[in-house]
């Protein structure tokens, strides 16, 4: 078997692998480990300089409750949730429709439209900033959860449509053809034949969009102002100012922001990776 499993290589190679890789991985994770450790330390440890050693006491619950009590963290988390989940649902369902149309119907505008989607996918979002902000202010959507949802849905739908179109294009076309010959209506073909087949794509997209939107900081900064609609990414920066020099609280707050996408990643790792691979290589 090529490549050979490492167990069959020479002892020297084996040793260097076994030593070097874990060390490299440890260094890779060191920033994460440091922040996890800091977030469960009592404040006294940090003041006395015990930042890298074993914590003198585990105060995980105390620190995390302190974050919730002393700040708006809970509001931020709720906002993030209510921005991310509707966006995920709206853009994936719209993309199913549009992807279906682009993949299944043969019409002259299909190809140019497809290329507009490809290009739109790579448009730097900076160029959208000023008009989108003005538009949101004019329509009263500035500084609201709905405004962020609408914008994110629109922006992510481009990517999702591209992804769906490629996925549906790869399905056997005979299935749809034979359903048509049987006289099944177009909507029922979409609903009963195509949708069940694209479930893996829907799962992959849902995970990707969840992480993209949850982790967005740019639009959170541009389109929100107050506490009432700020998501956790922008909130964490505010907390960073509020908890100055309370490093144990800053790190707990930062970890809170990272927990949902990281949890999502570990639970749905297969879909996440499938999504990235499909999205990049097509």
């Amino acid at each position: 078997m090529f490549p050979k499993p490492i167990e069959k290589a020479s002892p020297a190679t084996q040793l260097s692998y076994k030593l070097f890789l874990p060390v490299a991985l440890f260094i890779w994770l060191l920033p994460m480990l440091a922040i996890v450790m800091t977030s469960i330390r009592p404040a006294a440890d940090i003041n006395s300089g015990n930042v890298f050693g074993w914590p003198s006491d585990f105060q995980m619950i105390e620190n995390y409750t302190a974050v919730f009590i002393q700040s708006e963290a809970w509001t931020y988390l709720k906002n993030s949730f209510w921005i991310t989940v509707p966006t995920m649902i709206i853009s994936v369902s719209l993309a199913c429709l549009a992807g279906y149309a682009l993949a299944i119907y043969k019409f002259r505008a299909a190809l140019p439209l497809f290329f507009i989607f490809v290009a739109g996918n790579f448009v730097p979002y900076q160029i959208l900033m000023v008009p989108v902000r003005d538009l949101s202010v004019k329509t009263g959507l500035y500084d609201t959860v709905t405004g962020l949802v609408l914008f994110h849905s629109a922006f992510q739908t481009g990517f999702c449509t591209l992804f769906m179109r490629n996925f549906i294009k790869a399905l056997p076309f005979d299935l749809i053809e034979s359903a048509r010959i049987e006289g099944v209506g177009e909507f029922r073909i979409f609903w009963y034949v195509v949708l069940p087949l694209v479930r893996p794509a829907i799962a992959a997209l849902a995970v990707l969009i969840f992480t993209f939107v949850w982790n967005d900081f740019f639009w959170a900064t541009v389109l929100t102002q107050g506490e009432a609609s700020k998501p956790i990414t922008a909130g964490v920066r505010a907390l960073n100012g509020q908890f100055v020099n309370n490093w144990h609280l800053v790190s707990a707050a930062s970890l809170l922001a990272a927990v949902p996408p990281v949890a999502m990643f570990f639970l749905m790792q297969k879909h996440f990776i499938a999504g990235l691979t499909l999205g990049a290589v097509k």
Binding site: L94, A101, V145, V149, T161
Partner: protein, 325 residues
Amino acid sequence: MNPALQGLVTIFIGVGGCMAYFYVSNLILDKVIYPAKGPNISQNINRANLVRPWLFLLPVIILLTLYLVYPVVGSFVRSLYNRSGDEFIGLGNYSSLIGSSDFRVAFFNNALWALVVPALSTFLGLVIAQLTDRLSWGNIAKSIIFMPMAISFVGASLIWKFVYAPDPDIGLINAILTSFGMEAVDVLQIPFWNNLFLMVLLIWVQTGFAMVILSAALRGVPEETIEAAIIDGANPFQVFFKIQVPQIVATIIVVWTTITIGTLKIFDIVYAMTGGNFGTQILPSYMMQFMFRDDGRATAVAVLIMIIVSPVVISNVRQARKELR
């Protein structure tokens, strides 16, 4: 309104409205406008099928026109007007930008980012993909390398503040330096090098992406080619660089360009770590300086970013087109 309620209402209107629109519009098309009966039945069916794709596409097209096409055009037009937006000044914003030394610093730094980050992330991703592929616990190692990808850039920035903090009691790097008896330094204030320290963050995040895609590509390399090379006496380095890598060049280019495009629009890291001070400004964070002060200049920077990105975008569209044929 309460955010939970807002969210629920948006889901309901968004999805329910979409489905209803879709069902009803198809119904009207098939039963009312071009009914599949009567004297013109075949003509009616053909016409209905010509209209149908547009029914599927309409919601997406409306959303994208409103939030993508209109803003791109709007930004370009806005960049030709002055600060308050009431006087047309042509390319005035652009010429004053190019004349400012801050802009040139940001531009130079951005070029540095676009060269260093994709190169190092792709290289590291490739090497790690190859090394962990031969390992029994390779998948665990991959998950670990990949995990930063799930964290937001702001989150990553806060995490790395612990690494770079000037206080040796907090900062990892300074803790190591002082334990060797050296002076603690604020690494984010060392001219030029601080840019590279910021890039480390993005490399930390993007290597996982490169690794995942490239490891899938490496698995697709036909085994016979590797086998033949080994029988001919190639050493592992030769197998890797002369047999495996040449066969996945197309994927490497895709990964490289994807990371390049991503790198050109990242602003979170610089914004959160240094705020663009100490000579670390890049164009996207430079633009944020003008956000609420001078929309004319802000949009001019945005248009310039767009122009810089466009060759990469065009090459990607070309690539997609080639694959279609």
